[in-house]
Point group: D2
Chain length 336, copies 4
């Protein structure tokens, strides 16, 4: 039985506690939060939970084998480092860290100690993203041409991080999982429309080798909720619409064939092979539960999580480059 300690019981912490408590072979044994009312809220649901106001006390609890950290990003590095140094496995919210240097240190520390370090890239554990991954890996899409993502909403402004670190982190983690390699350059433009607040909208462009391009529009200040990703390949294209409850994924059996026949004076068309659309059935399982099970499995087996510290670090490097590009007015920043 692996004992889990939840660090931070604000918005997301209760979800972690609820999912980890449903897993065979794991048990949520303690919660840590500086606010006594949050401890009380946690204990109302699970009275046997030990509450700690201080993370040092939680880490000293011998029943805690692993911690799940759901605190603001700036505290991820110190908390995770302290936990690793105390010999605890670590599950940490996204974005992994505030800087790539912090992320590198955590990855190295976990490696050194042989501990599991996992970042909560929830979306890669959804049925939808899994299905797209299958379509890419089995060649259904052909060569990838582009990845175009829009995530906009009239939602909550965050005052501690920009919209890129708040929203684009989701899409970058999905892209990292699906494409499986890092971009060569990252360029970004972002604007803050509310005085004293971080940037509320941004466009990020990632260029890969082989003319693969990825582009992200994230926006806290839109009139409608859009969560749409277009993935274009040489053989098929995918529309992933995460607000479409009925048909989240549509696969279009369309590719290009160069039309050699028609040589008109001012216009030569590229012909199209246009075929059917197919919307595969998706399982309806909570991704966070899958993910929590995966974390516990990785602790047991020692295998690297699919969203391990290295994956978290790759996403942070893109965000870091994007932040630098914004400061340099859209200059493409090489990665590495």
């Amino acid at each position: 039985m692996i004992g889990i300690g939840v660090v931070g019981y604000g918005y997301w912490g209760p979800n972690l506690a609820r999912n980890f408590s449903q897993i065979d072979g794991a048990e949520v044994v303690a919660v840590c939060d500086g606010r006594p009312d949050r401890i009380a809220a946690a204990q109302k649901i699970q009275p046997t939970l030990r509450g700690y106001g201080d993370v040092g006390a939680l880490l000293a609890d011998p029943d805690v084998d692993a911690v799940a950290i759901a605190t603001p990003v700036t505290s991820h590095h110190p908390l995770a480092l302290q936990a690793l140094q105390a010999g605890k496995h670590v599950f940490v919210e996204k974005p992994f860290t505030s800087t790539s240097a912090e992320g590198e240190e955590l990855v190295a520390e976990a490696d050194r100690r042989g501990l599991t370090l996992m970042v909560d890239h929830t979306f890669i554990y959804t049925s939808a993203v899994r299905k797209i991954a299958d379509l890419i890996s089995d060649g259904s899409l052909g060569r990838l041409y582009y990845y175009d993502s829009v995530r906009v909403n009239l939602g909550l402004f965050q005052s501690d991080v920009s919209v890129m670190w708040d929203l684009a982190v989701h899409d970058l983690s999905i892209m990292d999982f699906l494409i499986g390699r890092s971009p060569v350059t990252v360029a970004a433009t972002a604007v803050a429309h509310v005085d004293g607040q971080p940037e509320n909208m941004a466009y990020i462009t990632c260029m890969f080798e082989d003319d693969l391009i990825a582009h992200f529009h994230v926006n806290w200040l839109a009139p409608v909720k859009v969560r749409q990703t277009l993935i274009g390949g040489s053989e098929r294209m995918v529309v992933f619409d995460d607000v479409d409850m009925a048909d989240k994924i549509k696969v279009y059996d369309k590719g290009i064939i160069l039309d050699q026949g028609d040589e008109r004076a001012y216009q030569r068309h590229v012909g199209y092979r246009t075929g059917d659309m197919w919307a595969p059935r998706l399982d309806n399982i909570e991704a966070l539960l899958i993910e929590a099970e995966h974390f516990v499995d990785c602790i047991r087996t020692g295998q690297a999580p699919q969203s391990d510290g290295r994956a978290g670090l790759r996403v942070v490097r893109i965000l870091e480059a994007a932040t630098r590009s914004v400061a340099e007015r859209g200059l493409p920043i090489p990665l590495d």
Copy 2:
């Protein structure tokens, strides 16, 4: 009665002929096309039409008071210049010209001769764009924050121009009309996925003074047709969805109010005033007809068309800067 000569009877020419022939006070009297079968096609519909294989002959026809040019963009400048020099008013397809230098020469020539020079920015004559213009000019949207446009389709590849000159020209002309001022810088990224073909997808970012940002995604190679523009203002936001036959324009009565009350440790939200949505009724009139009437009116009255040569030139300047930015890997190009 103003006599119109249509130059170029390919894909768009017949639409021009059909609309100009419906206007009181104008008459389509001649058509010019190097291909005899196209002349024949025009005369099948209107047997009295004079057919010319050569533009010089058409311009020599004393019944031709104005020409409507629907030929590839590279020929716009020589044809329009020849027509203006022959004393004819000119209506020319978009993009206005291939370069801003060409556009400047045409504007100067028309000015010098007191002739009407109009560019076919069709969309600015639609009920939808007119309605948005009203909402902006009467202050309903408040201060403009952003203009975000997506125009993608599994459509025709053009071999003579890139997707920016083919598709973005529509959106840039709408933006030019709605925003009423030119951007300060233009940055763009574009990719060609088919060997030997021009760029088939592009992202263009225009920065204005006052943190207004405009962004355009154009794509010939998408699985679905999207024609959506989000316009965010401090008071209201507009969604303009040109493929929604029922509700092309939706106005969201939503703005931001800073929420001062809630000072949580790691997150301070910006509050929202969230209100109703309103989809105004739009007239169902063919924009090209409105536009053709406007051209004839401008010839009569001497007033400048709403999409005059200067408007065409402003759009060409943005396209030119975008093209340069693509060549310089996304560098923002200042617009004089």
Copy 3:
């Protein structure tokens, strides 16, 4: 403090318990279910809850002031009657009862004892239905012409009741609330496609005085989920789409004007006044919570609930007539 006892802890009972426990001035004190595992499930969430395997024991508990009954419809009458006779206020799931005679007896018993009797017509407590009620009562829709409802889904078959008693009960309760008077006749057609199962699809037609017609399509066996109601009035029309998360209610500013001018030989059109569409903002509050508060308020004040036993009875009478009409192959059955 009003003590609530929940009778039946299957699918819906936990929702009742959760909502009643959130209300100031009420407290869920006991639960009754014949299945020990269900009692255990309830006590896992709220350990202080008293569990009873038998309703007599629950009714004998002096801390139970009111019961919330979430059991199969056939048991509503005996359980509610027993509770009323024990002096308890009663909140009962829909459909109210299996027959109108049962419903009449409960209404009479509650009246006699001065107890609150309320039926869980959840939908009438939603923001959407409330907004439509306002639009009708303030005259915005004009004279009502029709009420057309579709509620279909590839959902669960129920083996104890037909699709009419399972799904149409929702729509009939909404219609009863919105229209505020009972139909004159009820006709229905229903079909069972699965051997040994009740009817899985049905069409119900209610005729009112003044040519108001209401029609209901309910279906357990559809490929897509549809929850759409069209309400046509002389001044405006409403589309209520309960699966549209963004715009549940759309109000169309369209009415008819007879066009007297155009007297063509074989066709005379009725002209239309066609105007804007408006989607009002709706509060996002859980209807069941509103409803639970309303029940507790009614107990305190003695006022009749909006969905009192009489409302439940009116709906049962329509279902009863519909059932009879099905047996008589669609014959319209007069109400009363």
Copy 4:
């Protein structure tokens, strides 16, 4: 070369003329309309067309081999009869005739003379309906359970026929083609909300043997345009949405499996096999052109058209029964 005479050049006649004139082996040679301006309008498009104010004169024209009748329904019978008696093949608008007696007489007359008699059931010549027909005939849908159609719009009121004869005729002709057998009974309810006008909304229910049910909602007075048909079968279900430009037909790979395992006290569910959705590519060809070619082919070969007089008659019989049912307040009327 088969010479076609178009009788009636109002709203639909020009479409017939345009399509028949595009067919190899046919030629539109004459038009008949009592209104000289309509003759002139036809001749403006095709100057060689002979114009007749009187149908007798047109029928006397030896170049006219077949007539296409696009006049109000009440004149279909006398005009078609006169044409058949003059030895002309007949293509006639829907509804075929005003009564089944009229239809029978035309069918008999055409049979007697060996002439082609075809009714313009346009929809059965669309790619969408053809595709559904294939899915039914190859067994993909399994046994048919229901056919549910909604055709509503804020459209034109017709003063000469009710909404059933104007709109339901489309859906009944599609159903007749797809199901391939006639219903056993027809019941209908219809209401007129505008004084002096025919019924503007109606519900029609057709019962077949084997518990197949078909239901139609037609409405001139709706706020939104809906053209949706659900077809439920034991193996798969189809959604045919004629206003969805992208995905008119969606096939759901969903059927029922009786779940024997779960025997809960008050609820036994029928299990579902739930699978993928598939939207087949459809050709984009104008149905009326296909239909016009089919008419000409049938004249040449002597084969019966797919929408021959008998098909027209079957639809008229259903409309006639529906009309009678409306008069008898929804009584199911047996066919035959």
